[in-house]
C-alpha cells in the first residue's frame, strides 16, 4: 500500500516496520478520497463542461467551440481574451441564452442552458444575466433617453411603475451618468453611453454580467472609465462579470484572465496582489489550462521554438512532468 504526503508524493511504508500514524494532511486526503466524487463545477456560478457549438454555413461546418471547459466563481471579475474566431463571442452568446450549445453542458446560476424552454430562457434573460455589446448602438435604443433605456428591461419584467424610476435613477447615479438621464444616446459621449448600457444591463439585478468588448469602440481614457465602472459594479454589487476584451489594459486589471484558443480554454493568467486602477503591479502568473480530459494547450511560440509537433514525450519528474520533443532529449 502506498501513501501520499501533502505534496501528493506517494511513499511506500517501511518494510516490516510498525505502522506509523498518518499525518493530518494525509487524513484530509483520505477523507477526500472516501467522500463521494463531487460534480464538476459544483459551487461555481458559471460552469461550462466540454461545451461544443457547431455552425453550418454554406454547406461547411464551423466548430466555434470544441469542448470548452470554464468555471467562474460567484463574484469574480474575469476577462476572456483570444484571437478573432477563437469562440469568445459564441461562448458569451451561449451564456446569455442567446444561443444554444450543440453539445456539452453550460450552467449559470443553476440554470442548465442546454435544456431550457423558451419560457425558461425568457425568465433567465430577465433575472439572471445582463449583456453589454461592443456597439453602443446595439445596447441602447436611439429614440429613448438614458432613463427610459434603463427602465425598458424593468417594463419587460413587469416591475411596478413606482419602483422602476427609482431603481433606474439609482443605477444611473451609481454609474455617474445621472446627469444624462434625460438625454438620448446621440447627446452622450461614448463613455456615457456605455455606462448607461451597463446600467441597463443591471436593471433587473442580474447575478451575471456579460460584456462583449465593451470598450472596443472607445479611446483609452474612456475605456478606462468604463472598465472602472465594471470593477465598481463587481465590487459594490457583487455581480459576477465576464468581459471579453482585446485590450491588454483591461486584462491587466483583472485577477483572472482566461485565454481561448481554437474553441477551448488554453491558458489562464492569475494576478496576485492589488489590481485595479491604482494597481502598481501585482504578480501575474500564466497557467496552461488542464482540462478534464487531461489535455493541455502548449503555447505556440514554445512549441515552435522547441520544434515540438505531432508528438511529445512526457517524463514524470519528481515534482513536475517534463514535455520533450520526440527527437530531442534533455541532458
Amino acid at each position: 500500500m502506498t501513501t501520499s504526503d501533502a505534496g501528493g508524493r506517494h511513499r511506500r511504508p517501511e518494510a516490516g516496520g510498525p505502522r506509523q500514524p498518518v499525518p493530518a494532511a494525509g487524513l484530509g486526503q483520505l477523507q477526500a478520497e472516501l467522500e463521494p466524487a463531487r460534480a464538476y463545477g459544483e459551487g461555481a456560478l458559471i460552469m461550462c463542461d466540454r461545451l461544443v457549438r457547431i455552425y453550418a454555413a454554406e454547406g461547411i461546418e464551423v466548430q466555434a467551440l470544441q469542448g470548452l471547459d470554464l468555471l467562474v466563481a460567484e463574484g469574480e471579475l474575469t476577462a476572456l481574451v483570444g484571437a478573432s474566431g477563437s469562440g469568445k463571442s459564441t461562448l458569451m452568446h451561449i451564456l446569455a441564452a442567446l444561443d444554444t450549445p450543440t453539445a456539452g453542458k453550460a450552467r449559470v446560476a443553476g440554470h442548465d442552458l442546454a435544456a431550457m424552454t423558451a419560457r425558461d430562457r425568457l425568465a433567465y434573460r430577465r433575472a439572471v444575466v445582463g449583456f453589454i455589446w461592443q456597439q453602443t448602438s446595439r445596447n441602447l435604443l436611439p429614440y429613448l433617453t438614458a432613463l427610459q433605456n434603463v427602465i425598458m428591461p424593468l417594463r419587460f419584467a413587469g416591475l411596478p411603475r413606482s419602483q422602476r424610476a427609482r431603481r433606474a435613477s439609482g443605477l444611473l447615479e451609481l454609474l455617474d451618468v445621472a446627469h444624462c438621464a434625460l438625454r438620448k444616446p446621440a447627446q452622450m459621449s461614448g463613455g456615457e453611453q456605455q455606462r448607461t448600457a451597463i446600467a441597463t444591463a443591471l436593471a433587473n439585478q442580474p447575478r451575471v454580467l456579460l460584456a462583449d468588448e465593451p470598450t472596443g469602440e472607445l479611446d483609452t481614457a474612456t475605456a478606462r472609465d468604463v472598465f472602472a465602472a465594471l470593477q465598481t459594479v463587481n465590487r459594490e454589487l457583487g455581480v459576477t462579470i465576464l468581459v471579453v476584451t482585446h485590450d491588454p489594459a483591461v486584462s491587466a486589471q483583472v485577477r483572472r484572465t482566461v485565454a481561448i484558443r481554437d474553441g477551448r480554454t488554453s491558458s489562464e493568467t492569475l494576478r496576485h496582489g492589488p489590481t485595479g486602477e491604482d494597481a502598481t503591479g501585482g504578480q501575474a502568473v500564466e497557467y496552461a489550462v488542464l482540462d478534464r480530459a487531461g489535455r493541455v494547450q502548449l503555447p505556440r511560440e514554445m512549441t515552435r521554438e522547441l520544434g515540438m509537433k505531432d508528438r511529445v514525450r512526457l517524463e514524470r519528474e519528481r515534482d513536475h512532468i517534463g514535455v520533450w520533443p520526440d527527437q530531442g532529449s534533455h541532458s
Binding site: R125, F156, Q187, G190, G191, L218, T232
Partner: protein, 908 residues
C-alpha cells in the same frame, strides 16, 4: 459609492460620437410604410367610389327615363263588391279618412320591406267607371261611340292641379234622384267636350255639374299618368270592329266620396294608392337589392277584407340596366382583384422594410428580456404611428376627390389595407424572433437544402395555380357578363407560376452572364450581376406584383382597344356608310340631280341610293323593302368594313328584261326569315312579285338594324321602281357640314346620319364611358403600384447596396458607375416583370377574354373578341421601363444624400 470619472473628453468627439443613421433609417422606413399605406388606401377608396359614381349616374339617368308611374309602387284593390254589399254599414265603406289610413298602412308595410318611398308625393284615390257620358255640348262625331266617363276621387287634387276657372268640387248637391255631383275637369277635357263652369252632364244616371276647370301642375307625374284619361280624353279602340270612343274623366271632391261609392255602385270601382319611390339616393350597388325587394313585394296580406295588389314598372325597367351594369363590372373585376393582390404584396414588402430596420432593436429587446408578444406589441405600436394617420389621410383625400354615393367596398378595402399594414410588422417580428432554441436546435440549412426547399415550395404554389387554371378551363367560362371568383382571379393565378419560374431561372441566366462579364474590363456588369444574383430570391414578391401590374395595365389596354373596335363596328352596323341621308316620307325623294350634287361634295368617294318602301307578304305581314342598284351598292359596301354585298345574287339573268315577271331574286334579313319562306309573294309598289330568296343580309343602309326587310334589285320593279329615299355615302373625310347645308336646302325634312357623330355618341354613352374611365384609372393605379414596388424593392436592398458601393467608392468607383451598378442590379427583376407580364397578358386573352362581355361597353350586341396587341404590349413595356428609370433616379438622389462616410458607418 459613486464612480468618479476622469475629466470627460469632448462629448461628441471623434470615436465617441455615434451617428444617428440607425434612428434616421428607422424613421425613413416608417415614413415609407406610411406613404405606401396612404397611396394604397387612396387608390382603394377612389377607384371603387369613382366606379360607383359612374354607375350610379347611369342608374339615375335610367330612372329619369322611366315614366313617373313606373317609378312608383301601385297598390290597387277592387272595392266594387265591398261598397255594394256593405252600403248600409258606414264604417266599412271606404271613406276619405279610411283611404288615407289604408294608404299609410300600406306605406308602412312597404317601408318595412325596405322600399325608399317619397312620403310627400304619396297619394290615393278611388276610380269609378260611370259609363257613357251624355249632355256634353260637343258630342262625339257619328263615327264614334259616346264618350265614357270615369269619376275620380284623388287625395292631392288641390296640390297636383291648378284651378283656372270656377272652384274645386265641394259636396254633392241635392238628395235622392236630384242629387248632383260637383266635378272638376281638366282644360283639355273641357275643350274636347266643349265644357265650361256650370255645364251639366249625366253619366250612369247621375247628374253632374262642372264647378271647376283645372290644369295639371306636373303633367308627367304619376297623378296624371297612372290614368292618362284624367289629364285629357283618350281615343280608345275597344276592338278592331267596334267604334272608337273617348275615355274621359272628372274629379269629385272629398265630401262626395261616400256618395260616389253609394250611388255609382253598379259599376267597377277601384281603390288606388300610389307610392312614388325616392330613387335619388339609390346607388348602383343598391339597385339589385331594390329590384329584389320590389319583386318580393307583389302582394300584401288582406287588409280589412281587401286584397291589395302591388305592382311597379321598375321590375321590368331595372333588369336590363342591372344586366348592363353587371356585364361592365364583370369586365372590370379581374382588374380589381389583381390590383388587390398587388396591394397585398406591397403591404408585405412595406412590413419587411419596417421589420428589417427594427431588427437590431428588437434583438436588443429580446436580449433585455422582452417576450415575443412584447416585441410584437412594440412592432404593432411602431406600425400604428405611421399607418393610422396615413390611412386616415388616404381615406379623407379619397372621399374628397370622389364625391358621390357611399361605397361600402371602398371602406372595407381601406380597412383591410390598414389592418394588413398594422398586422404584418408584428407577425413578421413574431416569425423572426420566435425562440432561439428552435433556431439553434435546427442548424441553419446549407445552400443545397435551401435550394431544394425553394423549388419544393415553388412547385407546390405552381401546382395550386395551374390547378386553378385547369379547373377554370374545365368548368367552362361562366355566361358572359357574370364572371365568377375563379375567373376574376385568373390574372393572379397566371402570374404566380410565371413569377416563380422566371425568378427561379434567372439566377442561372445571371450566373452565365456574370461569367461572361468577368472577361470584360469594367466592374459595373460584374458587380451589378453578382448583386442581382445574390438578391434573386428576395425578388419573388416584387416580380410577382410587377407581373400582375403589367398584365392589368396590358389587359385593360387590350379591353379598351377591343371596345374601340366594337364601337366602330357598332357605328358601321348602324349606318352601313359614312353618311346616310334619308328623305322624309311622302316627298319627291332624292332626285337624280340632287344625287349628283351630293356625290360631288368634298370627301365623298362613293354613293349608293336605296328606295325604302313598305311591302306586304300576305296574311297582314308587312316588311320593309329596300330597292337598290346591286352593283352600285356593292361598290359602296366594298369600301366599308361592312360584309360584302352579294350583288351577283341579285343580278339580272341574261335575256331577262327589266320589270318582267317571274321569280325575282331577293335578299332577306334574318328577322324576315320567319315572315317569308324560300319562295313568297311580295306585294310592293303596286306589283305582286314572286320572290326567290337568294340569300340573307344582316343590314342595309336606310333600314333600321334588326328589322324585317327584303332587298330587291331595281330592275325587278322596272319603271315602277320608286325614286330613292336614301342615299348612302362613303368617304372617310366627308364634309358633314357641306352635306347638311345642301340637304337642308334641297330636301327639307330629310334626316342626315353621320357615322362619326354616331360613333361619338356611342363612345360617350355614360355606362361604357364610365367603364372605360375605370379601366384607365385601374391602369394608372397599376402604374403607381409599379413605381412604389420598384422603389420598395430598391429601398429593401439599399443598405447592403450602399455599403457595397461605399466600399467600392473608396477603391475609386465613380458616381456614374455606381448608378449603372444599381441599374444592372435591378434590371433582371424589371426584365422578368416585362417578360412575365407579357406572357401573363397573352395568357389572359384566351383564359379570361371570352368571359368578358365587351358588348356592354358598346350598348349593342356587336361582339368583338379580345386580341393581343403588340403595340399595347410595347407601350406598357415602355411605361414600365420609364417607371424603373424614375425609381432609379429617386433612389440615386436618396443615396447621394447619405454619402460614403455615413454609409460605411451605417454598415458597422
Amino acid at each position: 459609492m459613486k464612480i468618479t470619472s476622469r475629466p470627460k473628453s469632448s462629448p461628441l468627439s471623434g470615436r465617441n460620437r455615434i451617428g444617428t443613421g440607425a434612428a434616421g433609417a428607422g424613421a425613413a422606413a416608417s415614413a415609407a410604410l406610411g406613404l405606401l399605406v396612404l397611396a394604397t388606401v387612396f387608390i382603394a377608396v377612389t377607384l371603387p367610389r369613382a366606379n360607383l359614381g359612374y354607375r350610379t349616374h347611369v342608374l339615375q339617368q335610367a330612372f329619369r327615363a322611366v315614366p313617373a308611374t313606373q317609378r312608383s309602387v301601385l297598390a290597387d284593390a277592387d272595392i266594387t263588391g265591398l261598397t255594394q254589399s256593405d252600403y248600409s254599414t258606414a264604417q266599412v265603406s271606404l271613406g276619405v279618412r279610411q283611404v288615407g289610413l289604408d294608404g299609410n298602412s300600406i306605406a308602412a308595410r312597404l317601408r318595412r320591406a325596405g322600399l325608399p318611398l317619397a312620403p310627400a308625393a304619396q297619394w290615393a284615390g278611388v276610380t269609378a267607371t260611370a259609363g257613357p257620358l251624355s249632355g256634353a255640348p260637343r258630342p262625339a262625331p257619328g263615327t264614334m261611340a259616346p264618350p265614357q266617363l270615369e269619376l275620380l276621387y284623388r287625395t292631392r287634387l288641390d296640390r297636383d292641379a291648378r284651378l283656372v276657372a270656377g272652384s274645386l268640387p265641394a259636396r254633392i248637391a241635392g238628395k235622392g234622384d236630384a242629387a248632383t255631383f260637383q266635378v272638376a275637369v281638366t282644360a283639355a277635357t273641357a275643350a274636347r267636350l266643349g265644357l265650361h263652369v256650370g255645364s251639366r252632364l249625366s253619366a250612369a244616371g247621375q247628374a253632374l255639374v262642372v264647378t271647376g276647370i283645372i290644369l295639371p301642375v306636373s303633367p308627367g307625374s304619376s297623378f296624371w299618368t297612372v290614368d292618362p284619361s284624367a289629364a285629357a280624353p283618350i281615343l280608345t279602340y275597344p276592338t278592331p270592329d267596334a267604334a272608337p270612343f273617348l275615355s274621359t274623366a272628372a274629379f269629385v271632391g272629398p265630401a262626395e266620396l261616400r256618395a260616389l261609392e253609394a250611388r255609382v255602385n253598379n259599376q267597377h270601382m277601384t281603390a288606388l294608392w300610389v307610392f312614388p319611390l325616392d330613387l335619388s339616393r339609390v346607388s348602383a350597388d343598391q339597385a339589385a337589392g331594390l329590384l329584389q325587394t320590389l319583386q318580393q313585394v307583389t302582394s300584401l296580406p288582406a287588409y280589412a277584407g281587401l286584397q291589395v295588389n302591388i305592382s311597379t314598372g321598375l321590375v321590368t325597367a331595372l333588369p336590363p340596366v342591372l344586366a348592363s351594369d353587371a356585364a361592365v363590372q364583370g369586365a372590370l373585376s379581374p382588374m380589381f382583384v389583381s390590383l388587390a393582390a398587388v396591394g397585398a404584396v406591397m403591404m408585405l414588402m412595406g412590413a419587411q422594410l419596417v421589420a428589417g430596420h427594427r431588427q437590431t432593436e428588437f434583438a436588443t429587446m429580446r436580449a433585455r428580456g422582452a417576450s415575443v408578444a412584447q416585441v410584437a406589441a412594440l412592432a404593432a405600436g411602431g406600425a400604428a404611428a405611421p399607418v393610422l394617420p396615413a390611412a386616415a389621410i388616404g381615406v379623407t383625400a379619397g372621399l374628397l376627390v370622389t364625391p358621390g354615393p357611399r361605397s361600402t367596398l371602398a371602406l372595407w378595402l381601406a380597412a383591410a389595407i390598414t389592418a394588413a399594414a398594422l398586422a404584418a410588422p408584428p407577425l413578421l417580428a413574431v416569425f423572426q424572433f420566435r425562440t432561439h432554441r428552435a433556431a439553434a436546435v435546427a442548424p441553419a440549412a446549407g445552400r443545397g437544402v435551401r435550394l431544394a426547399r425553394w423549388w419544393v415550395t415553388s412547385a407546390a404554389l405552381i401546382a395550386v395555380a395551374v390547378g386553378g387554371l385547369i379547373i377554370l378551363r374545365q368548368q367552362g367560362l361562366p355566361p358572359s357578363g357574370r364572371l365568377d371568383a375563379l375567373t376574376s382571379l385568373a390574372p393572379v393565378l397566371a402570374a404566380l407560376p410565371i413569377a416563380l419560374l422566371i425568378v427561379g431561372c434567372y439566377p442561372i441566366a445571371l450566373a452565365r452572364l456574370a461569367r461572361l462579364a468577368r472577361r470584360s474590363r469594367g466592374a459595373v456588369m460584374v458587380v451589378g450581376l453578382a448583386r442581382g444574383r445574390a438578391t434573386a430570391r428576395s425578388a419573388v414578391l416584387p416580380a410577382f406584383a410587377l407581373i400582375i401590374a403589367f398584365a392589368v395595365a396590358a389587359f385593360a389596354a387590350m379591353e379598351r382597344g377591343a371596345v374601340a373596335r366594337a364601337e366602330v363596328a357598332a357605328s358601321w352596323q348602324a349606318t352601313q356608310a359614312d353618311a346616310v341621308v334619308t328623305a322624309a316620307g311622302g316627298g319627291p325623294g332624292l332626285t337624280p340631280s340632287l344625287q349628283r350634287l351630293i356625290a360631288r361634295l368634298p370627301g365623298v368617294q362613293r354613293a349608293a341610293t336605296v328606295s325604302v318602301l313598305t311591302g306586304s307578304a300576305g296574311g297582314g305581314r308587312s316588311l320593309l323593302v329596300a330597292v337598290v342598284n346591286p352593283r352600285q351598292y356593292a361598290e359602296l359596301a366594298a369600301a366599308t368594313p361592312a360584309p360584302p354585298f352579294p350583288a351577283g345574287l341579285l343580278a339580272r339573268p341574261p335575256g331577262r328584261g327589266i320589270g318582267t315577271t317571274g321569280q325575282m331574286p331577293a335578299l332577306i334579313s334574318p328577322a324576315a326569315g320567319t315572315t317569308l319562306g324560300r319562295a313568297a309573294t311580295l306585294r310592293v309598289a303596286g306589283r305582286s312579285l314572286q320572290l326567290r330568296v337568294a340569300g340573307r343580309l344582316a343590314s342595309i343602309a336606310g333600314v333600321p338594324a334588326g328589322s324585317r326587310f327584303a332587298v330587291l334589285p331595281a330592275w325587278a320593279l322596272g319603271n315602277r321602281a320608286p325614286p330613292p329615299t336614301v342615299i348612302a355615302l362613303q368617304g372617310p373625310s366627308l364634309d358633314g357640314g357641306a352635306l347638311a347645308r345642301l340637304v337642308r336646302q334641297a330636301v327639307p325634312g330629310a334626316r342626315i346620319t353621320l357615322r362619326s357623330r354616331l360613333l361619338e355618341a356611342i363612345a360617350a354613352a355614360p355606362l361604357p364611358h364610365g367603364g372605360l374611365i375605370t379601366l384607365a384609372q385601374g391602369a394608372a393605379a397599376a402604374g403607381v403600384f409599379s413605381l412604389l414596388i420598384l422603389l420598395l424593392m430598391m429601398v429593401l436592398s439599399a443598405r447592403s447596396r450602399e455599403l457595397t458601393l461605399a466600399r467600392l467608392d473608396t477603391m475609386g468607383l465613380g458616381p456614374t458607375q455606381s448608378r449603372r451598378i444599381t441599374a444592372v442590379e435591378s434590371l433582371p427583376v424589371i426584365l422578368s416583370a416585362v417578360l412575365g407580364g407579357m406572357v401573363c397578358a397573352l395568357a389572359l386573352v384566351p383564359l379570361a377574354g371570352p368571359a368578358v362581355d365587351l358588348a356592354a361597353f358598346t350598348g349593342n350586341q356587336v361582339r368583338v373578341p379580345l386580341q393581343a396587341d403588340p403595340l399595347i404590349l410595347g407601350a406598357v413595356t415602355g411605361g414600365l421601363l420609364l417607371l424603373a428609370g424614375v425609381a432609379l433616379t429617386i433612389q440615386d438622389q436618396l443615396a447621394r444624400r447619405q454619402g460614403v462616410t455615413q454609409a460605411l458607418r451605417a454598415g458597422d
